[in-house]
Symmetry: C2
Subunit: 251 residues, 2 copies
DNA sequence: TTATGACCAGATAAACAAAATTAGTCATTT
DNA sequence: AAATGACTAATTTTGTTTATCTGGTCATAA
């Protein structure tokens, strides 16, 4: 197109302003969604809460559904970044225990992602039904678990005397159990996110640690390698996701 | 009361007939409840399915709710008897592993009890809301877990380097996770009840087994003692429950 | 005495219309 | 060019009426 263009400087200035506003709108959407759930959170509410006019929202997303999908994508990215941070700053970030603990913490600290994982219909309402068709997220996640387990097994960090599929099933059952437990327990039986993550990690470690007979116990080298592999994997996912977001914004 | 009485013989004959019919009605109720859920299962349906007139049902229970409560009590008794049987007939019935496995199996094989434990609103509908007020079942269950864990710890079958409350929380999280996992996994990822119970038992055993350093590994004697304790506990519960039922029938 | 099913009152669902809300648009303002 | 909010078409909610269903009773039959 031969249309007149603004200076690069000007363009990026506006871009960041746009992005900032988009973020504010998503903040509002997230806040209100947690309070009222998807079904009861209207575009008007969001606009008022974010301090913009309704029309402005439609300068960013084509439909209401798109807005919430964008919100969820952002939350996914945030969760991933949070996890990456936690893993990177913990010397045990390359251990099965550390990975479990930090995955749980990252999930527990992000109520929207937690709701997605638990398929919380109260909160996600119609969005879940519409979205889950084209979202391969869970299969993806399972595939991810597989790859990680294969790596662990090849390094002798995890016992290899059980079917990998079963190991994945077990791992997911354990984490799901701890994620879902809260409302089932009587009121005088609450634990903090940190305690829950710690307990989960304890269970996972003891379940999957190799029998003491096996040789390769986790030395520093292996830890580092695993940590690096996982972190760079998360990085890949992050850059991919972010690029996808870019493309969407420019339609 | 000085009313004229039938012969004892006649009385017991009638009693057993009554009971048999009550059972048939409960069978029908259970069957239909599993198919349509509590809300959509009507007394007419049940009467038709059980081959009795509607009025007959009210010769047994005062209200619809009472009928379903009776059904659940029967299922609880059945589950307990099933569990007792499984424990008694397995030489490993006195092990943490065996107990976990058989508890899971007994639960998995009883869809109504499973629904109660998981608070399945789709299936139990209004009954759950009304009933859960006066049902202390879960607190009871938790208390039960406690007692069992204390026994295990005192016998050195379970590690005692973690807070007991946390151990109970962990155990319940693990079992809950495996009970609830099914619908979360992709379709090509199903396991049989037996495999699920086995996996659960594996996790629980590895999580709670004492560190190898500790002395008292489970000898035959301990196993037997624990098995006996548990079975006689179940027996106590059973006789208590059955007596309660008797009293209710005779109002 | 025991079992039945017609019967009834109250609850639930279906049908419908009216009112209110809301997603998305676009002429107007900034 | 960018942002707004009044506006509209469509959906959702609310209120109302009518019809159906269902839990529970009880006079009658077995």
């Amino acid at each position: 197109m031969a249309s007149p263009r603004r200076s690069a400087r000007n363009q990026t200035e506006e871009r960041s302003k746009r992005e900032e506003r988009a973020d504010r709108i998503l903040d509002a959407a997230g806040e209100l969604m947690l309070r009222w759930g998807y079904n009861k959170t209207t575009i008007d509410d969001i606009a008022r809460y974010a301090g913009v006019a309704k029309g402005t929202i439609y300068l960013h997303w084509k439909t209401r559904e798109d807005l919430f999908t964008a919100l969820m994508k952002r939350e996914y990215i945030r969760l991933s970044e949070d996890l990456k941070q936690r893993l990177a700053s913990d010397p045990e970030g390359g251990t099965l225990r550390g990975i479990t603990k930090h995955s749980m913490l990252a999930t527990l600290k992000n109520p929207l992602m937690k709701a997605v994982i638990l398929r919380d219909t109260d909160l996600l309402g119609e969005w879940l039904r519409k979205e889950q068709e084209d979202s391969v997220t869970f299969s993806q996640q399972v595939a991810q678990s597989f790859a990680l387990f294969e790596l662990f097994r090849s390094r002798g960090v995890v016992r290899d005397d059980i079917d990998v599929r079963k190991q994945v099933y077990m791992l997911d059952s354990i984490t799901l159990g701890f994620l879902v437990m809260e409302p089932y327990m009587p009121g005088d039986f609450k634990y903090s996110d940190e305690e829950i993550a710690e307990m989960t990690a304890e269970v996972v470690e003891r379940t999957f640690a190799p029998s003491p007979s096996s040789d390769a116990q986790s030395d520093e080298r292996t830890k580092q390698e695993i940590s690096n592999t996982l972190i760079s994997y998360i990085d890949d996912v992050l850059t991919l996701r972010k690029k996808q977001n870019q493309e969407e914004v420019s339609q």
